[in-house]
Amino acid sequence: MAREDEDVRPGGDPCRGAAAVRTITEEERVAEARVIPLRPGRVSGGGAQPVAEDTTASEDLPGTVRAARSGDGPAQAGGGRDGEAPEPDPAVDARLEDRLAGLARFVRRRLAGEYEVDEFGFDAELNDAVFLPALRLLYERWFRVEAVGLHNVPGDSGALIVANHAGTLPVDALMTAVAVHDHHPERRHLRLLGADLVFRLPVLGATARRAGHTLACGPDAERLLRGGEVVGVWPEGFKGVGKPFRDRYKLQRFGRGGFVSAALRTGTPIVPCSIVGAEEIYPKIGDIRPLARLLGLPYFPITPFFPLLGPLGAVPLPSKWYIEFGEPISTAEYGPDAAEDPMLVFDLTDQVRETIQQTLYRMLSQRQSVFLG
């Protein structure tokens, strides 16, 4: 569904600075030909230069996703019409109509249950049409994420992305999923491994399954990796995501190295991933333990705005994010039996952890402002 949305730039490295580089669809170019845009260049991520000139804007597929993602294209196209063209453009009309027809077909398919769900409950169509566009708004507008190093994520085989966890709520995992989908040339779906708490809760658990995520356990991780999926894991778990603000960017213990065992058994590479910016979205300055225990949660956070401002305090601070995918660490040469060698598992775990920690320090030293980057 999202394939028609925007394509990666033909030629060149499609991964580098991808978040910063917006591709321009057909109608935007039409619009740009007519009006002088208010903002020169279409920089959404900041930083990198707007170099993209997409020539592969798709015409054939009506885009429900594009419709849902109304931030730029339609607005500019509309601006173009208002400003200059007095007579209605039949091409625009036809496109709008196609889009509505596509939407109607989508609604029909959903109502008739005519969609595919994999054995984990992953519903790719729903993910592309609903979940990802919603997250993309946050990704592009709120956190202005810049993702680099996506060429380190293989295009057609399994890989295990291991990243640092932060931010009180696991927004970083979702943003990484958007980065891997939107800025990888193969538009891969990142399958996250989550805590059982997520899957126990009503609505959240069902939604997570539909979005392709599953329980962080050996069998599921290995099954996904054997199936050639890109799997994302945050081995720090609650220790990482719920650590106090003063400990920001200090990696916690990496679980028991279960993720390394899974990678070794399946011979898939580990891609260390470092995320900067997630620590500042909900600075956790306190923890109401009794309340957490009462609710069965790992912690009940106090941030400068939550629970002080109530629901308003649940709005994340708009920090500027960077996600860097590092060099893959190959595991195939050790063989599947190596998963039974605890020393090797510890060594690899430490290697991944150190890589992420060092990259975090480097990225932090380059960052000038939490909110501006």
Binding site: E97, L100, A101, L103, A104, R105, V107, R108, R109, R110, L111, A112, G113, E114, Y115, E116, V117, D118, E119, F120, G121, D123, D196, L197, F199, R200, L201, P202, V203, L204, G205, A206, R209, R210, T214, L215, C217, P219, D220, R223
Partner: protein, 344 residues
């Protein structure tokens, strides 16, 4: 080795009845004995052909005499059922667990028994948020079923393992079936999806796996006729979620909070013979099984995928959709064709 004398328990269930019919039409098999506590309907009885019906309670010692006297060499135990036969849960458990114990005890004393096939269920895996998404035959359930049919099934499997230990010369096959569904068979799920408004749990969308009744009979027959030692998961390929299935059938989902689901189900069960939600172990978190072993080791590939099973059921039953997606979702096409006559 083709069996000479086969004993099939639970001939009132569709699996037992269908299997007995097929075996009866196989000239290589000398005798087919069907056992149940109530006689089958005249219709089933007629179609059983030369298969002999013996009205017996497998909880009774009589079954040992039947097995010894008829020189039974293959026992197919299909009477384990989630549905109480009139007497409620207590009787159901008696029939399931005590019946199996007696049957296996009888098998153990008969030196002629060479093969035992057990119909089991995916319910033995339980269903909890801490379980992996897909169960293989070796997956240990995180939370053992605390009661009801799922617990019965887990215990029955345990008894069969014990039997296999004591009689290593007997080939035992355990077939863990996912939910049966077929156009003709009357199963728990078929009654559930035939309801006009289908109660579904709030906030949970369990993944369902289905096995076509024809495939279920075929695989049981395969296990009866050939040696398939071990435990096999049996399910059609692919997965449907519960709400997806409800939509495919054009039913109206009635979302109920999980605690209310069971009481409502109990009330519904009195009004219509409904087995859903099961008394215990409602698979809110889904139960999906890996069927690689069935395909590769047993060489059995189900002919129907989960989605095909469901569609076959909907069509075969002639379920008229209450919610017509074509009318709701196809509205745009009609509006367009009405307003823009020139186009398409």
């Amino acid at each position: 080795m083709t069996p000479r004398v086969v004993l099939v328990t639970g001939v009132n269930g569709f699996l037992g009845a269908q299997l007995a019919m097929r075996l009866a039409s196989d000239p290589d098999i000398e005798r087919v004995l069907c056992v149940d506590i109530v006689p089958p309907s005249p219709e089933v009885r007629r179609r059983l052909g030369r298969a002999e019906f013996i009205r017996a309670d497998i909880r009774n010692r009589l079954i040992a005499k039947v097995i010894a006297a008829a020189r039974v060499d293959t026992v197919v135990h299909t009477s384990v059922s989630p549905e109480p036969v009139g007497g409620g849960r207590a009787l159901n458990k008696e029939l399931n667990v005590i019946g199996t114990m007696q049957l296996l005890a009888a098998c153990q004393t008969s030196p002629l028994v060479r093969r035992v096939v057990l119909k089991s269920t995916s319910a033995v895996y339980g269903s909890s948020p801490r379980d992996p998404a897909v169960f293989t035959e070796r997956t240990e359930p995180r939370e053992l079923p605390s009661g009801g049919y799922a617990k019965d099934a887990a215990e029955i499997e345990g008894y069969l393992r014990g039997f296999a230990r004591r009689r290593p010369d007997v080939v035992t096959t355990t077939l863990r079936f996912s939910n049966f569904l077929g156009p003709r068979a009357d199963t728990v799920l078929s009654r559930y999806f035939a309801l006009p408004a289908v109660p579904v749990p709030l906030g949970h969308d369990p993944r369902l796996q289905l096995v076509h009744t024809e495939d279920a009979v075929a695989v049981t027959r395969l296990a009866t006729l050939t040696d398939l030692p071990g435990v096999y998961n049996v399910a059609g390929e692919g997965v449907l979620t519960l709400t997806q299935a409800v939509r495919r059938a054009g039913r109206l989902p009635v979302v109920l909070p999980r605690p209310a689901l069971r009481p409502v189900g109990a009330v519904l069960r009195r009004v219509v013979p409904l087995g859903w939600p099961p008394e215990s172990g409602t698979p809110d978190f889904g139960q999906v099984m890996d069927t690689t072993s069935l395909r590769e080791n047993a060489g059995f590939v189900p002919r129907w995928s989960t989605a095909q099973v469901f569609d076959d059921f909907v069509q075969g039953r002639g379920l008229r959709p209450l919610v017509d997606a074509d009318r709701l979702g196809g509205g745009w096409d009609r509006i367009r064709s009405a307003t823009v006559p020139g186009r398409r």
